[in-house]
Structure formats: structure tokens, C-alpha cells
């Protein structure tokens, strides 16, 4: 076989591998340039809303966000039981706190910001015989003095490697995909 054929074959294999890599949208973000993020030492992560059909998606994303924030060392995170107790004081189920509620939560929990999120998708797609988890998250930070949103980010991750697609094996567990989505979002907040 001529060397040109070797090069062509090599390029084809590379192209296929690249095409088979995890395809994810780049995270989008908003950051309020006037807010002093150094002021935030302690945050409360509210239970994520879950708009997907995966019943555990909200709890999973909430738990992973807490872990990733703690692991970053950037902020301290309130114990979820405290958050539940504080939300329970409102009497009704709070998924999106109002400005007044955000300020109240800040004082009750002694936090400078709240982390709120929504799992917009947590599903499994099928590509041939491969099950590919897909997770999309929207996360935002609300500072508790004025209730204003000071940061927002969103990310989508798919959980199948090129090897899985080529070899037809199963993609990664949805927990791993969710974790990468959380990391992608938080990478826009914590630098």
C-alpha cells in the first residue's frame, strides 16, 4: 500500500474517532462583573428542580453540586438538613425562592449566596446498541443581600466515549455524566 494510502487511512480513523468523541455543548454562563465573589464564603444549595423523567435526577444533581463545591475548597456548603429545615419554615414547598425568601434564607442559614438549579434533561438515548445518558443542567447563584442573580451557567453532557460507540458497549453511568455536567457548570464559577 502506498504511503499516501496510509496517510489517508490514518486521517479517516482520526476523523471517525473525533466524530465519536463525547459531543457536548460548551457551557454557557453569565457573571455579574460588579459583584465581589470574594465576599461569598458560605453557600446553601437548594434542592434542584427536576424537569426530566428521571426521578432521581434532581437529588443526584443537588448532591453532586454539594460535593463538587466542597471539593473545590472555594466555599463552605450548608448541610442539606439545615436547608430543608429553613425551607420548611416557609410552610409551602419552595422551588424558586422570591427575593424576600432569598434574603430570609441568607439570614437563617448564615450564607452569602444560594445555589439554585434545574435538571432540564436526564435521559438515555440509544445509538445503535449503545445506551447514552444525556444530562442538561441550569445552575445559578443568588446573593442573599438583595436577592439578585450574580452568576448563571448551563451545561449539557453526553455519556458515551468514542470507544463505546465504536465497540458498541454501554455508555457511562448517568451519575458520571451528571457529575461531568456539574463540573462543567461550576468551572465557569470557580477558577
Amino acid at each position: 500500500m502506498r504511503p499516501t494510502h496510509h496517510r489517508a487511512l490514518f486521517c479517516l480513523v482520526c476523523a471517525l474517532a473525533i466524530a465519536g468523541c463525547r459531543s457536548t455543548a460548551a457551557p454557557t454562563e453569565f457573571t455579574n462583573p460588579k459583584f465581589n465573589f470574594g465576599f461569598v464564603e458560605r453557600v446553601a444549595v437548594l434542592p434542584f428542580q427536576n424537569l426530566s423523567t428521571d426521578r432521581q435526577a434532581g437529588a443526584r444533581a443537588t448532591r453532586l453540586t454539594i460535593t463538587e463545591l466542597l471539593a473545590s475548597g472555594a466555599v463552605d456548603v450548608v448541610e442539606p438538613g439545615e436547608v430543608q429545615a429553613a425551607l420548611g419554615e416557609f410552610g409551602t414547598r419552595v422551588t424558586e425562592p422570591s427575593v424576600a425568601q432569598a434574603v430570609t434564607l441568607g439570614k437563617t442559614l448564615n450564607v452569602q449566596a444560594l445555589i439554585l438549579g434545574t435538571v432540564t434533561e436526564s435521559s438515555t438515548q440509544r445509538s445503535g446498541g449503545v445506551a447514552i445518558p444525556v444530562v442538561s443542567l441550569d445552575v445559578r447563584m443568588v446573593e442573599t443581600e438583595t436577592g439578585a442573580t450574580v452568576w448563571a451557567g448551563s451545561a449539557t453532557e453526553k455519556g458515551a466515549s468514542a470507544a463505546a460507540r465504536i465497540l458498541g458497549t454501554t455508555g457511562e453511568p448517568v451519575t458520571e455524566t451528571t457529575r461531568r455536567a456539574v463540573q462543567a457548570v461550576l468551572d465557569t464559577l470557580i477558577r
Binding site: 426521578r55 432521581q56 437529588a59 443526584r60 448532591r63 453532586l64 454539594i66 460535593t67 466542597l70 471539593a71 475548597g73 463552605d76 456548603v77 448541610e79 442539606p80 438538613g81 439545615e82 430543608q84 429545615a85 453511568p173 451519575t175 458520571e176 457529575r179
Partner: protein, 361 residues
């Protein structure tokens, strides 16, 4: 030599030498510990399965302990209005001890039963000192008739009673061979001090309460098994009830302070069961379990450690079904074992686990 009557164990030899038989001088066997065995708590509504578990339980324990008569114990429990042994306070347990003369009390719970072939079951047990209400030992075991399946389906147990007998016999070995309470296997356990386990919460699709209760017992058994002093569940429950606090999977500042004071615990361990299901067919069941745990400092309220694991029963090497796990309980035990090890050690490379240890911030 004048003849005298000698005690039987004394052998008269010539020249006036008497040899006392060593058998008499041998130390008399220590009196067996008195154990009260509480009725098996039936979480599955299957009296037949309860009987199939209780019978071998009593047989094995009778070899090691003096068992309190069942009627005597039942009367003592009724007099103390005790329906849930594991929610009893040390004072209530002490009254049971006084009424029965028992030193120890064993509480057993049957969590899951599946009698169709291949059968499955899961049970847990806890051993209490009736003198001071301390939790001395906790164990959990789950089994499937497929656990010892070999080539040509040899080794499969296809009926419930033999499976129950085998499981109970194996399970009780960890009780009778238990280490002395308070012995920490690892320096991390000694550093951690006493941990209060708050029952886990559950967000599973089905039977969330049962899943949370089962995994809570798995975690308890693993904590004690790895030498971590664990607060009595009765004291934890009583504290949470008296303060009308969150009892499942979450603690706030008030409950942390109350638990720390009531149990002497420096930390609370709690968490969530996110997945606890079994797929596949009857002959090829595939359990899927996701557990997340966190350790909270009672004094500061800060999260000191988080760990989570997400695994399926067919993860890992799967040649000729070797390495497969067929029940949720067994899978959860393996996962919890690794998580608790990480709580005590640096993180290892277990796939699907993620841990964090907060140091000094």
C-alpha cells in the same frame, strides 16, 4: 498404710503419694452468657419466612448462649410496652434485663423475602447490652439462590428454607466471632470517636422507606464492623422524636447539638439512597444501587466528608458469571464497605465512587 476413703478424684499411689486428677483442677467452664432473642421484626408480612429464619437462628445461638424463654421475654416487652426494640432507650432495655435476667438482647429484622425460585432474602440484626443499652454488634446479610451457581446450574438453591438456614448460619458467625466492643481496627476509627447514624432518606422510584431502612442497617453494620463506635439507634431515635426533628437523611443545627449531647457523638453520618432496584430476569437479576453518604460535625455543623457510589451487580469482570452480585443487599454491602473505608482512609480508585474530606477549613 491405713486405708481411708479418699475423694474420687484423688488417686492413692504407693508411698503415700496422692495424685489429684487434673480434671478436677481444670477450670470449670465459664457460665454461658444469657441472651434474650427478640421476635423477628417482619417487614415483609410473611410469617412463614419469619419462622424459616427464626428456627436456625435459635438453634445456632443455643450452642453459644443461654437463651431466655420466649414467653418470659414477651411478657417483659409487653410490660415495658416495647414494640420496637431498636427504638428502646437504655433505661427501657435495662428494665428488660432486670425482668428476664438476660445480659444481652438480639434484635433481628427481616427486610426482604422472595420465595419463588430462585429465592432471595435480606436480614439484619443488632446485639445490645441490657446493662447499659450499648449497641455491641450489628450485622446485615443478603443472599440469593444463585449465589453459588456454577456450570450447568449446579449449586443453585431453588427453595427458600435451605437458603434461609444457610444464610442465618453464616451470618451468625460474625456475631459469635465478634471483636470486643470498643476495639478500633484503624487509627481513623479512634480519631473519629462515636458516630451517630441518622437513618438515610430515599428518593428511589419504589419502596423508598424499605430501601432506606435496609441501607441504614447495612451502613450501621459496616461502621461497627470497621471498628467505629456507633451510638445506639434507640438513643438516636428517642432524641430525634423528643425534639421533633428531621429523622430521615438530614440534620439541622438543633438536631446535631441534641444528638451530640445525648449520644456523645462527635459526628453524625447520614445520606440518601438514590437507586435501589433490580432489573433483568429472574435467572439473571441485575441489581443497581446508588448510595450517597455524608459526615457532619456535631460541634460546627459543617460537612466533614461526603462519599457516594453508583454500581450495578454486573460491574467488573464477568467471566462465567464470576464476580456477579445478584441482590441489592449484597451490592450495597460491597459499596458501603468501600465508602466507610474511604471515610477512614484516603480515597482509593473504586470506580463510581467520589469522596471528599474537608481538612481544617
Amino acid at each position: 498404710m491405713s486405708r481411708r476413703l479418699l475423694p474420687a478424684p484423688v488417686l492413692a499411689l504407693p508411698q503415700g503419694v496422692a495424685l489429684v486428677l487434673l480434671a478436677v483442677l481444670a477450670v470449670a467452664p465459664a457460665a454461658a452468657t444469657t441472651l434474650a432473642v427478640a421476635p423477628v421484626q417482619d417487614r415483609v408480612g410473611n410469617p412463614g419466612a419469619v419462622a424459616a429464619v427464626r428456627q436456625p437462628l435459635l438453634e445456632v445461638l443455643a450452642d453459644e448462649y443461654d437463651l431466655v424463654d420466649a414467653t418470659t421475654l414477651r411478657n417483659a416487652l409487653r410490660a415495658g410496652r416495647l414494640r420496637e426494640i431498636d427504638a428502646a432507650t437504655p433505661e427501657e432495655l435495662a428494665r428488660v434485663g432486670e425482668a428476664t435476667g438476660a445480659e444481652l438482647l438480639l434484635s433481628t429484622t427481616l427486610h426482604r423475602v422472595f420465595e419463588e425460585s430462585p429465592p432471595r432474602l435480606a436480614l439484619s440484626a443488632r446485639l445490645y447490652s441490657l446493662a447499659d443499652g450499648r449497641l455491641l454488634w450489628s450485622g446485615f446479610a443478603a443472599a440469593s439462590g444463585l449465589d453459588h451457581r456454577g456450570l450447568l446450574e449446579l449449586g443453585v438453591i431453588d427453595s427458600f428454607d435451605p437458603l434461609a438456614r444457610r444464610l442465618v448460619t453464616r451470618f451468625l458467625r460474625t456475631l459469635t466471632g465478634r471483636r470486643s466492643e470498643g476495639a478500633a481496627d484503624r487509627s481513623g476509627a479512634a480519631e473519629l470517636g462515636t458516630v451517630a447514624l441518622v437513618p438515610l432518606s430515599s428518593v428511589t422510584e419504589r419502596a423508598g422507606t424499605a430501601a432506606a431502612a435496609e441501607v441504614t442497617e447495612i451502613v450501621r453494620a459496616e461502621l461497627l464492623g470497621q471498628g467505629i463506635a456507633t451510638a445506639s439507634p434507640g438513643t438516636v431515635t428517642d432524641t430525634l422524636r423528643r425534639h421533633r426533628l428531621l429523622a430521615w437523611g438530614g440534620v439541622d443545627a438543633t438536631s446535631l447539638a441534641a444528638l451530640g449531647e445525648a449520644t456523645g457523638a462527635g459526628y453524625v453520618l447520614t445520606g440518601t439512597v438514590e437507586t435501589y432496584e433490580v432489573g433483568g430476569g429472574a435467572l439473571e437479576p441485575e441489581p443497581h444501587v446508588t448510595i450517597a453518604l455524608r459526615l457532619v460535625d456535631c460541634r460546627t455543623g459543617r460537612i466533614a466528608w461526603t462519599g457516594a457510589s453508583d454500581r450495578r451487580g454486573w460491574d467488573g469482570l464477568d467471566l462465567f458469571r464470576l464476580g456477579r452480585t445478584y441482590t441489592r443487599g449484597q451490592l450495597a454491602q460491597q459499596m458501603t464497605h468501600h465508602l466507610v473505608r474511604r471515610l477512614l482512609e484516603e480515597p482509593a480508585g473504586d470506580r463510581g465512587s467520589r469522596t471528599f474530606r474537608l481538612e481544617g477549613r
